[in-house]
């Protein structure tokens, strides 16, 4: 083995596994050799190299998703010791053992820790989280954005659609059609952009329908859970203000 292995020191993981989208989940315990500076991804890679349970029995390797390994892509979100976060920045040295890994329960499980975050991408489509500039001729440069505005808007643009805020939200569930905090914050981002602002009402209207912004119950878990520190509750309140204004404007025919 590599020199980094510390003799006799091991890491214990309890992983919630599921073979198929429609099959029953079950727990499996793994004990793997410790190396310095491990994160949950490298622990999963270790299991992949030697898919053997704690009792020595062979098993199938655990499936997970990951890409960037630097907390900017959002692919490796999972519940680690009960809290939703990215596996790549979950350092083993800072975690209580046994480390419990579970897929985020808000999303349909594909297999083991792999989930389907399609609802989030559908939400972005629904609120039109983009700036429409495509056309048949050159529209020229858009209006300038104030530097002070760019600075806070940049914070909102850090959203990586990881799904942690939806997992933390008590109102994102099967009985509720709430769109979730992430898409609402994106509406604020694109409405803040000087060109995006031109389609502001269109985006607000999408949140003034079933499953729109009214699903927020102000538990404010999202802002505490967001790995990128995005001020989600401020975004929600700001969009609450804009949708309220939009509602009165529409009624008064302004």
């Amino acid at each position: 083995m590599a020199e980094a292995t510390v003799a006799n020191k091991t890491i214990k993981l309890v992983i919630k596994r599921q073979d198929r989208p429609d099959s029953q989940p079950y727990d499996e315990t793994f004990e793997i050799p410790y190396r310095a500076n491990m994160n949950v991804i490298s622990a999963l890679m270790e299991i992949q190299r030697n898919p053997q349970k704690q009792d020595g029995q062979k098993t199938s390797p655990v499936c997970w998703e990951s890409n960037c390994l630097e907390e900017v892509c959002g692919a490796c979100s999972m519940n680690i010791n009960g809290k939703p976060r990215q596996a790549c920045t979950a350092l083993v040295d800072k975690l209580e053992q046994p480390i419990r890994l579970e897929p985020m329960k808000t999303f349909p499980v594909v297999r083991d820790l792999v989930i389907n975050r399609e609802r989030m991408f559908n939400a972005l489509k629904r609120v039109k989280a983009w700036i429409p500039i495509d056309g048949t001729y050159d529209l020229g440069p858009g209006p300038r954005m104030a530097e002070t505005k760019r600075q806070w808007a940049y914070e909102l643009s850090k959203c990586m659609t990881c799904g942690v805020c939806l997992e933390a939200c008590p109102n994102v569930n099967d009985r509720n059609s709430f769109i979730g905090p992430a898409a609402i914050s994106q509406v604020r981002l694109f409405n803040a952009h000087p060109t995006g602002e031109m389609n502001k009402e269109e985006r607000l209207e999408t949140l003034m329908e079933d499953g729109g912004i009214e699903g927020c119950g102000n538990s404010q878990n999202c802002v505490r859970a967001c790995p990128k520190g995005i001020p989600l509750t401020t975004s929600i309140a700001a969009i609450n203000k804009d949708t309220t204004k939009q509602m009165f404007k529409k009624w008064l025919g302004m």
Partner: protein, 222 residues
């Protein structure tokens, strides 16, 4: 739910403030006359309310129907929510869950309380003038007193925390600082209004409310 849930939710939220929050504060203030002025003070407060124009209209459209909509739609909102306090035991998440729990308690409590008081007046078992002694009997029943204490605290919490949430949902308190200060203000309101209700509940236990009823009995027999 039929129709656009955005508007249902907005109506639910608005009715919580106008008229329901105004009503609960008014109710607290009139009850407090029992502490301030004894049976006579409470009697004056009841008479004042009954002297308002269009009392039956105010009761129906100002209290009963808004309460019914807010209550029934509120139960639906509570049904739509998960409780994840085990995973996220933050203060605001507690308030979120307690808002739903207190809402359900208040819903049940208000129906029971209306049955014991206003409904008894409606079916002729008692009169507005004798409500002081009705409350005296309720407050002196240990079980009722305990249930009323729970009901009152739940209702006032739901009102105060609901006001906090209203200010967020209509985009009045946007930033974290505004929301934090608002939460301090409404928690002070919660303590003050609860204290007012509980003080009047204790005041109703006093013998003078029984005597007031006895005097009324004599008047009636004559």
């Amino acid at each position: 739910m039929k129709g656009n849930s955005y508007y249902s939710r907005k109506i639910h939220s608005l009715l919580g403030v106008i008229p329901l929050s105004l009503f609960i504060v008014q109710h607290g203030v009139s009850n407090f006359q029992a502490v301030d002025g004894g049976p006579e003070g409470f009697q004056r407060a009841v008479e004042f309310l009954n002297s308002l124009p269009f009392v039956p209209v105010l009761e129906l459209f100002g209290i009963f129907l808004p309460l019914l909509f807010h209550g029934v739609y509120g139960l639906y909102i509570a049904y739509q929510s998960n409780n994840n306090l085990g995973q996220f035991s933050y203060g605001r998440n507690w308030a979120f869950t307690l808002q739903r729990v207190s809402g359900v308690i208040t819903f049940i409590f208000v129906f029971w309380h209306v049955y014991q008081t206003r409904f008894q007046v409606f079916i002729g078992n008692t009169t507005h003038g004798e409500l002081g002694s009705t409350m005296h009997d309720i407050a002196n029943n240990p079980l009722f007193f305990a249930l009323y204490t729970i009901g009152v605290i739940a209702a006032v919490f739901h009102f105060a925390n609901g006001m906090w949430a209203f200010l967020v949902s209509w985009g009045i308190t946007v930033g974290p600082r505004a929301q934090r200060i608002s939460s301090y203000v409404w928690m002070v309101v919660f303590v003050l209004v609860s204290a007012m209700f509980l003080a009047s509940l204790v005041a109703f236990r006093g013998d003078e409310f029984k005597e007031a009823a006895a005097v009324l009995d004599i008047v009636r027999t004559i």
